[in-house]
Protein backbone atom coordinates (compact mmCIF):
# COMPACT_ATOMS: atom_id res chain seq x y z
CA UNK A 1 0.00 0.00 0.00
CA UNK A 2 0.97 3.56 -0.51
CA UNK A 3 0.09 6.37 -2.87
CA UNK A 4 0.06 5.61 -6.57
CA UNK A 5 0.33 8.17 -9.32
CA UNK A 6 -0.43 7.09 -12.85
CA UNK A 7 0.90 9.16 -15.72
CA UNK A 8 0.64 8.57 -19.46
CA UNK A 9 3.92 8.72 -21.33
CA UNK A 10 3.50 10.56 -24.61
CA UNK A 11 4.94 8.78 -27.61
CA UNK A 12 6.40 10.67 -30.49
CA UNK A 13 6.76 8.89 -33.75
CA UNK A 14 10.50 8.45 -33.39
CA UNK A 15 10.36 5.50 -31.05
CA UNK A 16 8.03 2.52 -30.67
CA UNK A 17 6.47 1.50 -27.38
CA UNK A 18 8.82 -1.43 -26.70
CA UNK A 19 11.81 0.81 -27.42
CA UNK A 20 10.68 3.36 -24.86
CA UNK A 21 10.04 0.66 -22.26
CA UNK A 22 13.51 -0.69 -22.92
CA UNK A 23 15.06 2.74 -22.54
CA UNK A 24 13.18 3.57 -19.33
CA UNK A 25 14.06 0.15 -17.91
CA UNK A 26 17.73 0.82 -18.52
CA UNK A 27 17.44 4.20 -16.90
CA UNK A 28 15.79 2.68 -13.83
CA UNK A 29 18.40 -0.05 -13.58
CA UNK A 30 21.09 2.60 -13.80
CA UNK A 31 19.40 4.30 -10.82
CA UNK A 32 20.01 1.07 -8.86
CA UNK A 33 16.43 -0.15 -9.21
CA UNK A 34 15.81 -3.91 -9.22
CA UNK A 35 13.30 -5.54 -11.48
CA UNK A 36 10.79 -7.62 -9.51
CA UNK A 37 8.79 -9.45 -12.11
CA UNK A 38 5.93 -8.13 -14.15
CA UNK A 39 2.56 -6.61 -13.46
CA UNK A 40 -0.81 -6.63 -15.14
CA UNK A 41 -3.85 -4.44 -14.82
CA UNK A 42 -6.83 -5.31 -16.98
CA UNK A 43 -10.29 -3.92 -17.50
CA UNK A 44 -13.42 -5.46 -19.02
CA UNK A 45 -16.58 -3.59 -19.88
CA UNK A 46 -20.03 -5.05 -19.39
CA UNK A 47 -22.84 -3.06 -20.87
CA UNK A 48 -26.48 -3.16 -19.92
CA UNK A 49 -28.90 -4.39 -22.53
CA UNK A 50 -31.55 -1.85 -21.53
CA UNK A 51 -29.80 1.34 -20.50
CA UNK A 52 -26.44 3.07 -20.69
CA UNK A 53 -25.14 1.58 -17.47
CA UNK A 54 -21.66 0.13 -17.77
CA UNK A 55 -19.83 -2.10 -15.33
CA UNK A 56 -16.08 -1.99 -15.49
CA UNK A 57 -14.57 -5.13 -14.04
CA UNK A 58 -10.88 -4.71 -13.37
CA UNK A 59 -8.00 -6.70 -11.92
CA UNK A 60 -4.67 -5.58 -10.56
CA UNK A 61 -1.86 -8.11 -10.14
CA UNK A 62 -0.77 -6.15 -7.07
CA UNK A 63 -4.01 -7.41 -5.42
CA UNK A 64 -4.35 -10.86 -6.96
CA UNK A 65 -7.34 -12.02 -4.88
CA UNK A 66 -9.59 -9.05 -5.62
CA UNK A 67 -11.84 -7.84 -8.37
CA UNK A 68 -12.40 -4.11 -8.60
CA UNK A 69 -15.65 -3.20 -10.26
CA UNK A 70 -16.88 0.27 -11.06
CA UNK A 71 -20.45 0.83 -12.09
CA UNK A 72 -20.92 3.87 -14.27
CA UNK A 73 -24.45 5.04 -15.01
CA UNK A 74 -23.38 8.27 -16.65
CA UNK A 75 -24.02 10.37 -13.54
CA UNK A 76 -22.00 8.65 -10.89
CA UNK A 77 -19.54 5.87 -10.34
CA UNK A 78 -19.99 3.21 -7.70
CA UNK A 79 -16.91 1.22 -6.81
CA UNK A 80 -17.17 -2.33 -5.54
CA UNK A 81 -14.41 -4.57 -4.27
CA UNK A 82 -15.01 -8.31 -4.22
CA UNK A 83 -13.50 -11.78 -4.32
CA UNK A 84 -12.31 -13.22 -7.59
CA UNK A 85 -15.46 -15.32 -7.88
CA UNK A 86 -17.30 -12.15 -8.85
CA UNK A 87 -15.93 -12.76 -12.36
CA UNK A 88 -17.94 -15.98 -12.55
CA UNK A 89 -21.04 -14.12 -11.41
CA UNK A 90 -20.59 -11.62 -14.24
CA UNK A 91 -20.82 -14.56 -16.65
CA UNK A 92 -24.20 -15.40 -15.11
CA UNK A 93 -25.43 -11.85 -15.54
CA UNK A 94 -24.99 -12.20 -19.30
CA UNK A 95 -27.00 -11.29 -21.41
CA UNK A 96 -28.50 -8.62 -19.15
CA UNK A 97 -24.98 -7.29 -18.94
CA UNK A 98 -22.91 -8.40 -21.90
CA UNK A 99 -19.15 -8.26 -22.12
CA UNK A 100 -17.80 -5.89 -24.75
CA UNK A 101 -14.74 -7.87 -25.76
CA UNK A 102 -13.59 -5.20 -28.18
CA UNK A 103 -13.21 -2.75 -25.31
CA UNK A 104 -11.07 -4.96 -23.10
CA UNK A 105 -7.86 -3.19 -22.20
CA UNK A 106 -4.81 -4.27 -20.33
CA UNK A 107 -1.65 -2.58 -19.21
CA UNK A 108 1.31 -4.80 -18.55
CA UNK A 109 5.06 -4.67 -18.31
CA UNK A 110 8.03 -4.82 -15.97
CA UNK A 111 7.80 -3.89 -12.29
CA UNK A 112 10.73 -2.23 -10.49
CA UNK A 113 11.55 -1.53 -6.88
CA UNK A 114 13.72 1.39 -5.93
CA UNK A 115 13.92 2.12 -2.22
CA UNK A 116 10.47 3.20 -1.10
CA UNK A 117 9.27 3.51 -4.68
CA UNK A 118 7.61 1.02 -6.97
CA UNK A 119 7.68 1.73 -10.68
CA UNK A 120 5.65 -0.10 -13.29
CA UNK A 121 6.06 0.47 -17.00
CA UNK A 122 2.82 -0.52 -18.62
CA UNK A 123 2.22 -1.08 -22.30
CA UNK A 124 -1.45 -0.63 -22.98
CA UNK A 125 -3.10 -2.97 -25.45
CA UNK A 126 -6.73 -3.20 -26.41
CA UNK A 127 -9.18 -5.91 -27.49
CA UNK A 128 -8.23 -9.45 -28.39
CA UNK A 129 -6.10 -8.21 -31.26
CA UNK A 130 -3.77 -6.66 -28.66
CA UNK A 131 -3.52 -3.37 -30.50
CA UNK A 132 -0.89 -1.19 -28.86
CA UNK A 133 -2.40 2.02 -27.47
CA UNK A 134 0.28 3.74 -25.44
CA UNK A 135 2.32 3.72 -22.27
CA UNK A 136 1.17 4.24 -18.70
CA UNK A 137 3.78 4.77 -16.00
CA UNK A 138 2.75 3.91 -12.45
CA UNK A 139 4.77 5.21 -9.52
CA UNK A 140 3.95 4.03 -6.05
CA UNK A 141 5.39 5.68 -2.93
CA UNK A 142 4.81 3.11 -0.26
CA UNK A 143 5.42 4.73 3.16
CA UNK A 144 2.67 7.33 2.77
CA UNK A 145 -1.12 7.16 2.50
CA UNK A 146 -2.17 10.79 1.93
CA UNK A 147 -1.53 11.87 -1.68
CA UNK A 148 -1.14 15.60 -1.00
CA UNK A 149 1.65 14.96 1.50
CA UNK A 150 3.86 12.95 -0.84
CA UNK A 151 2.94 14.39 -4.21
CA UNK A 152 5.97 16.73 -4.30
CA UNK A 153 8.28 13.84 -3.54
CA UNK A 154 6.74 11.70 -6.26
CA UNK A 155 6.85 14.59 -8.72
CA UNK A 156 10.56 15.04 -8.06
CA UNK A 157 11.16 11.33 -8.48
CA UNK A 158 9.21 11.27 -11.74
CA UNK A 159 11.23 14.20 -13.01
CA UNK A 160 14.36 12.23 -12.20
CA UNK A 161 13.66 9.58 -14.77
CA UNK A 162 11.00 10.92 -17.11
CA UNK A 163 12.68 14.31 -17.60
CA UNK A 164 10.64 16.61 -19.82
CA UNK A 165 7.70 14.21 -19.97
CA UNK A 166 7.15 14.32 -16.25
CA UNK A 167 3.88 15.94 -15.06
CA UNK A 168 4.05 19.20 -13.18
CA UNK A 169 0.72 19.01 -11.39
CA UNK A 170 -0.99 16.24 -9.49
CA UNK A 171 -3.40 14.28 -11.74
CA UNK A 172 -6.91 15.68 -11.97
CA UNK A 173 -8.27 12.56 -10.31
CA UNK A 174 -6.96 13.85 -6.98
CA UNK A 175 -8.22 17.41 -7.30
CA UNK A 176 -11.77 16.74 -8.48
CA UNK A 177 -14.19 17.47 -5.71
CA UNK A 178 -16.00 14.43 -4.48
CA UNK A 179 -19.33 14.68 -2.65
CA UNK A 180 -18.92 13.72 0.95
CA UNK A 181 -21.66 11.39 2.19
CA UNK A 182 -21.06 12.38 5.81
CA UNK A 183 -20.56 16.09 5.38
CA UNK A 184 -22.05 18.83 3.19
CA UNK A 185 -18.64 20.11 2.06
CA UNK A 186 -17.17 18.04 -0.77
CA UNK A 187 -13.64 16.81 -0.37
CA UNK A 188 -10.72 16.05 -2.65
CA UNK A 189 -9.07 12.66 -3.05
CA UNK A 190 -5.69 14.30 -2.48
CA UNK A 191 -6.56 14.82 1.19
CA UNK A 192 -8.05 11.41 1.72
CA UNK A 193 -6.49 8.11 2.70
CA UNK A 194 -5.33 6.38 -0.44
CA UNK A 195 -6.94 3.03 -1.21
CA UNK A 196 -6.33 0.30 -3.79
CA UNK A 197 -9.54 1.24 -5.61
CA UNK A 198 -7.98 4.68 -6.30
CA UNK A 199 -5.29 3.03 -8.41
CA UNK A 200 -7.91 1.15 -10.34
CA UNK A 201 -9.96 4.29 -10.88
CA UNK A 202 -6.95 6.12 -12.27
CA UNK A 203 -6.39 3.25 -14.68
CA UNK A 204 -10.06 3.35 -15.64
CA UNK A 205 -9.85 7.04 -16.54
CA UNK A 206 -6.95 6.39 -18.87
CA UNK A 207 -8.46 3.20 -20.25
CA UNK A 208 -11.64 5.12 -21.06
CA UNK A 209 -9.61 7.78 -22.85
CA UNK A 210 -7.98 5.13 -25.03
CA UNK A 211 -11.39 3.61 -25.72
CA UNK A 212 -12.82 6.97 -26.76
CA UNK A 213 -9.88 7.59 -29.08
CA UNK A 214 -10.37 4.20 -30.68
CA UNK A 215 -14.08 4.66 -31.14
CA UNK A 216 -13.50 8.14 -32.58
CA UNK A 217 -10.94 6.70 -35.01
CA UNK A 218 -13.30 3.93 -36.04
CA UNK A 219 -16.18 6.33 -36.52
CA UNK A 220 -14.05 9.00 -38.23
CA UNK A 221 -13.15 7.40 -41.56
CA UNK A 222 -16.62 5.95 -41.90
CA UNK A 223 -18.17 9.39 -41.83
Amino acid sequence: MGVTILVPYPLDNKKTGPEVVEELSKRLLAMQATQTGHFLVDGDVFESSFNKTKIHVMHNSEYPASVFSILDNGQKQIPLITDLIFDLLMLKVNPIYASRKQLKIESKGPRFELGDFLVKLGSVTMSQSQTFKGLLIEVDYRPCLIPIICWELIREFLQGFLGQYSPTTIPVYFTNSVPNPHHPVPYQKSNDTYQPIDTVQQYLEHFNNYRKQTIALMMGPNK
Partner: protein, 221 residues
Protein backbone atom coordinates in the same frame (compact mmCIF):
# COMPACT_ATOMS: atom_id res chain seq x y z
CA UNK B 1 12.59 -8.67 -20.41
CA UNK B 2 11.67 -12.26 -19.83
CA UNK B 3 8.17 -13.48 -20.27
CA UNK B 4 8.38 -16.46 -17.97
CA UNK B 5 6.90 -14.83 -14.89
CA UNK B 6 4.26 -12.81 -16.66
CA UNK B 7 1.21 -12.60 -14.47
CA UNK B 8 -1.72 -14.45 -15.96
CA UNK B 9 -4.89 -12.48 -16.42
CA UNK B 10 -7.14 -13.09 -13.41
CA UNK B 11 -10.05 -14.18 -15.54
CA UNK B 12 -7.94 -16.76 -17.35
CA UNK B 13 -6.67 -18.35 -14.15
CA UNK B 14 -10.19 -18.35 -12.75
CA UNK B 15 -11.62 -20.07 -15.80
CA UNK B 16 -8.79 -22.56 -15.59
CA UNK B 17 -9.58 -23.24 -11.92
CA UNK B 18 -13.22 -23.64 -12.72
CA UNK B 19 -12.39 -26.09 -15.49
CA UNK B 20 -10.47 -28.42 -13.19
CA UNK B 21 -13.21 -28.22 -10.55
CA UNK B 22 -11.38 -26.71 -7.64
CA UNK B 23 -13.73 -23.82 -7.05
CA UNK B 24 -16.33 -24.73 -4.43
CA UNK B 25 -19.40 -23.61 -6.35
CA UNK B 26 -21.89 -26.33 -5.45
CA UNK B 27 -24.01 -26.11 -2.36
CA UNK B 28 -25.32 -29.28 -0.79
CA UNK B 29 -28.29 -28.48 1.41
CA UNK B 30 -30.74 -30.06 3.83
CA UNK B 31 -33.38 -28.06 5.65
CA UNK B 32 -35.71 -28.51 8.56
CA UNK B 33 -37.04 -26.70 11.58
CA UNK B 34 -37.45 -27.08 15.31
CA UNK B 35 -40.02 -25.60 17.65
CA UNK B 36 -38.79 -22.74 19.82
CA UNK B 37 -39.41 -24.67 23.04
CA UNK B 38 -37.23 -27.54 21.86
CA UNK B 39 -34.32 -25.56 20.52
CA UNK B 40 -32.18 -25.96 23.64
CA UNK B 41 -32.27 -29.72 23.23
CA UNK B 42 -31.10 -29.41 19.66
CA UNK B 43 -28.32 -27.00 20.57
CA UNK B 44 -27.23 -29.38 23.29
CA UNK B 45 -27.08 -32.27 20.89
CA UNK B 46 -25.26 -30.25 18.23
CA UNK B 47 -22.76 -29.14 20.82
CA UNK B 48 -21.97 -32.77 21.42
CA UNK B 49 -21.81 -33.70 17.75
CA UNK B 50 -19.89 -30.80 16.27
CA UNK B 51 -16.27 -29.72 16.10
CA UNK B 52 -16.02 -26.39 17.84
CA UNK B 53 -16.72 -27.87 21.26
CA UNK B 54 -15.09 -25.16 23.37
CA UNK B 55 -16.53 -22.19 21.55
CA UNK B 56 -19.83 -23.62 20.37
CA UNK B 57 -22.32 -22.38 19.71
CA UNK B 58 -21.09 -19.42 17.72
CA UNK B 59 -23.84 -16.83 17.58
CA UNK B 60 -24.73 -14.58 14.70
CA UNK B 61 -27.15 -11.80 13.93
CA UNK B 62 -27.35 -10.97 10.25
CA UNK B 63 -29.33 -8.92 7.82
CA UNK B 64 -30.11 -10.34 4.41
CA UNK B 65 -31.60 -8.68 1.38
CA UNK B 66 -32.64 -10.51 -1.75
CA UNK B 67 -32.45 -8.72 -5.08
CA UNK B 68 -33.77 -9.81 -8.42
CA UNK B 69 -32.40 -8.93 -11.82
CA UNK B 70 -34.60 -9.28 -14.88
CA UNK B 71 -33.83 -8.74 -18.48
CA UNK B 72 -36.43 -6.07 -19.10
CA UNK B 73 -35.19 -5.50 -22.63
CA UNK B 74 -36.27 -8.97 -23.63
CA UNK B 75 -40.04 -9.37 -23.73
CA UNK B 76 -39.93 -13.09 -23.33
CA UNK B 77 -37.42 -13.07 -20.53
CA UNK B 78 -39.98 -11.35 -18.29
CA UNK B 79 -41.74 -14.64 -17.84
CA UNK B 80 -38.61 -16.56 -16.97
CA UNK B 81 -37.32 -16.69 -13.43
CA UNK B 82 -35.19 -13.67 -12.57
CA UNK B 83 -31.62 -13.93 -11.38
CA UNK B 84 -31.63 -13.75 -7.58
CA UNK B 85 -28.77 -12.14 -5.72
CA UNK B 86 -28.54 -12.05 -1.96
CA UNK B 87 -26.60 -9.64 0.17
CA UNK B 88 -25.84 -10.48 3.75
CA UNK B 89 -24.07 -8.59 6.46
CA UNK B 90 -23.64 -8.89 10.18
CA UNK B 91 -25.82 -6.73 12.39
CA UNK B 92 -23.29 -7.04 15.17
CA UNK B 93 -21.32 -3.78 15.57
CA UNK B 94 -18.25 -5.86 16.48
CA UNK B 95 -18.25 -7.21 12.92
CA UNK B 96 -18.41 -3.80 11.24
CA UNK B 97 -14.98 -4.34 9.67
CA UNK B 98 -16.02 -7.66 8.16
CA UNK B 99 -16.78 -7.83 4.44
CA UNK B 100 -20.34 -8.21 3.30
CA UNK B 101 -21.44 -11.31 1.46
CA UNK B 102 -22.89 -11.43 -2.00
CA UNK B 103 -24.47 -14.74 -2.83
CA UNK B 104 -25.78 -16.16 -6.05
CA UNK B 105 -27.83 -19.33 -5.76
CA UNK B 106 -28.90 -21.29 -8.81
CA UNK B 107 -31.91 -23.52 -9.18
CA UNK B 108 -31.76 -26.85 -7.39
CA UNK B 109 -30.79 -29.79 -9.54
CA UNK B 110 -33.79 -31.93 -10.23
CA UNK B 111 -34.51 -35.51 -11.16
CA UNK B 112 -32.02 -37.09 -8.86
CA UNK B 113 -34.01 -38.78 -6.14
CA UNK B 114 -31.13 -40.99 -5.12
CA UNK B 115 -28.97 -38.11 -4.06
CA UNK B 116 -29.53 -37.56 -0.35
CA UNK B 117 -29.29 -33.77 -0.45
CA UNK B 118 -30.38 -30.86 -2.55
CA UNK B 119 -27.61 -29.62 -4.85
CA UNK B 120 -27.48 -26.21 -6.42
CA UNK B 121 -24.82 -23.99 -7.86
CA UNK B 122 -23.75 -21.24 -5.55
CA UNK B 123 -21.22 -18.40 -5.45
CA UNK B 124 -20.26 -16.89 -2.13
CA UNK B 125 -18.49 -13.62 -2.73
CA UNK B 126 -17.03 -11.32 -0.12
CA UNK B 127 -17.57 -7.71 -1.06
CA UNK B 128 -17.46 -4.13 0.10
CA UNK B 129 -20.55 -2.43 1.60
CA UNK B 130 -21.11 -0.48 -1.61
CA UNK B 131 -22.76 -3.65 -2.95
CA UNK B 132 -26.27 -2.44 -2.05
CA UNK B 133 -25.95 0.72 -4.09
CA UNK B 134 -24.11 -1.17 -6.79
CA UNK B 135 -26.90 -3.68 -7.25
CA UNK B 136 -29.61 -1.05 -7.11
CA UNK B 137 -27.89 0.96 -9.82
CA UNK B 138 -27.38 -2.20 -11.82
CA UNK B 139 -31.14 -2.44 -12.09
CA UNK B 140 -31.72 -5.01 -9.39
CA UNK B 141 -34.97 -4.81 -7.46
CA UNK B 142 -35.11 -5.41 -3.75
CA UNK B 143 -37.52 -8.32 -3.44
CA UNK B 144 -37.51 -8.88 0.28
CA UNK B 145 -35.33 -8.60 3.31
CA UNK B 146 -35.11 -10.17 6.73
CA UNK B 147 -32.96 -10.40 9.77
CA UNK B 148 -31.74 -13.66 11.12
CA UNK B 149 -30.44 -14.51 14.56
CA UNK B 150 -29.01 -17.84 15.44
CA UNK B 151 -26.27 -20.29 16.16
CA UNK B 152 -23.58 -21.71 13.93
CA UNK B 153 -21.91 -25.09 14.28
CA UNK B 154 -19.27 -26.81 12.20
CA UNK B 155 -18.57 -30.44 11.62
CA UNK B 156 -15.68 -30.94 9.23
CA UNK B 157 -16.69 -29.10 6.10
CA UNK B 158 -20.36 -29.13 7.07
CA UNK B 159 -22.04 -26.02 8.38
CA UNK B 160 -25.07 -26.24 10.62
CA UNK B 161 -27.13 -23.18 11.40
CA UNK B 162 -30.05 -22.95 13.78
CA UNK B 163 -31.66 -19.61 13.20
CA UNK B 164 -34.72 -17.53 13.78
CA UNK B 165 -36.06 -15.45 10.91
CA UNK B 166 -37.48 -12.01 11.68
CA UNK B 167 -39.38 -9.53 9.59
CA UNK B 168 -37.06 -6.58 9.26
CA UNK B 169 -39.30 -3.67 10.16
CA UNK B 170 -40.77 -4.83 13.42
CA UNK B 171 -38.40 -7.63 14.33
CA UNK B 172 -41.36 -9.93 14.62
CA UNK B 173 -40.48 -13.61 14.29
CA UNK B 174 -41.83 -15.26 11.18
CA UNK B 175 -42.85 -18.48 12.89
CA UNK B 176 -42.71 -20.35 16.16
CA UNK B 177 -39.80 -22.42 14.97
CA UNK B 178 -36.12 -22.14 14.30
CA UNK B 179 -34.90 -22.89 10.80
CA UNK B 180 -32.25 -25.61 10.78
CA UNK B 181 -29.93 -25.83 7.79
CA UNK B 182 -27.14 -28.28 7.11
CA UNK B 183 -25.02 -27.14 4.20
CA UNK B 184 -21.68 -27.66 2.55
CA UNK B 185 -19.87 -25.92 -0.28
CA UNK B 186 -17.81 -28.14 -2.53
CA UNK B 187 -16.49 -28.23 -6.08
CA UNK B 188 -18.42 -29.99 -8.81
CA UNK B 189 -18.22 -33.77 -8.54
CA UNK B 190 -17.70 -34.00 -4.79
CA UNK B 191 -20.93 -35.95 -4.38
CA UNK B 192 -19.53 -38.16 -1.64
CA UNK B 193 -20.06 -35.36 0.83
CA UNK B 194 -23.81 -35.70 0.42
CA UNK B 195 -23.63 -39.10 2.06
CA UNK B 196 -21.79 -37.65 5.06
CA UNK B 197 -24.54 -35.09 5.38
CA UNK B 198 -27.23 -37.74 5.26
CA UNK B 199 -25.50 -39.63 8.06
CA UNK B 200 -25.23 -36.48 10.13
CA UNK B 201 -28.87 -35.58 9.55
CA UNK B 202 -29.79 -39.07 10.69
CA UNK B 203 -28.18 -38.34 14.06
CA UNK B 204 -30.49 -35.39 14.63
CA UNK B 205 -33.64 -37.44 14.19
CA UNK B 206 -36.29 -37.37 15.51
CA UNK B 207 -35.55 -33.97 17.01
CA UNK B 208 -35.25 -32.38 13.59
CA UNK B 209 -36.18 -33.87 10.25
CA UNK B 210 -33.72 -32.52 7.73
CA UNK B 211 -34.90 -32.93 4.16
CA UNK B 212 -34.20 -31.82 0.66
CA UNK B 213 -36.82 -29.23 -0.04
CA UNK B 214 -37.31 -27.98 -3.55
CA UNK B 215 -38.33 -24.36 -3.21
CA UNK B 216 -40.09 -24.40 -6.53
CA UNK B 217 -42.34 -27.24 -5.56
CA UNK B 218 -43.67 -25.47 -2.50
CA UNK B 219 -43.93 -22.17 -4.32
CA UNK B 220 -47.39 -21.00 -5.23
CA UNK B 221 -47.51 -20.54 -8.98
Amino acid sequence: MTSENQPIAAMDSLLQASKVNIIPNQEYLLQGSILDVQVQRLLHRLKGLCDNVETAPEQFHDYEACFSLRNIADEQAIHTAPLLLRVRRSNDPADSHMPWQLRYVGNPELGDTKRPTLVRSCFDISCSPSIMEFLTEMGCRLEFEYTVRGYLFRKGRMKITVSKIFRPMNQEPLSGSYLVELSLLAPVGADAVAEDMRVFAEKLKPLVILEKIDHRRIAPN
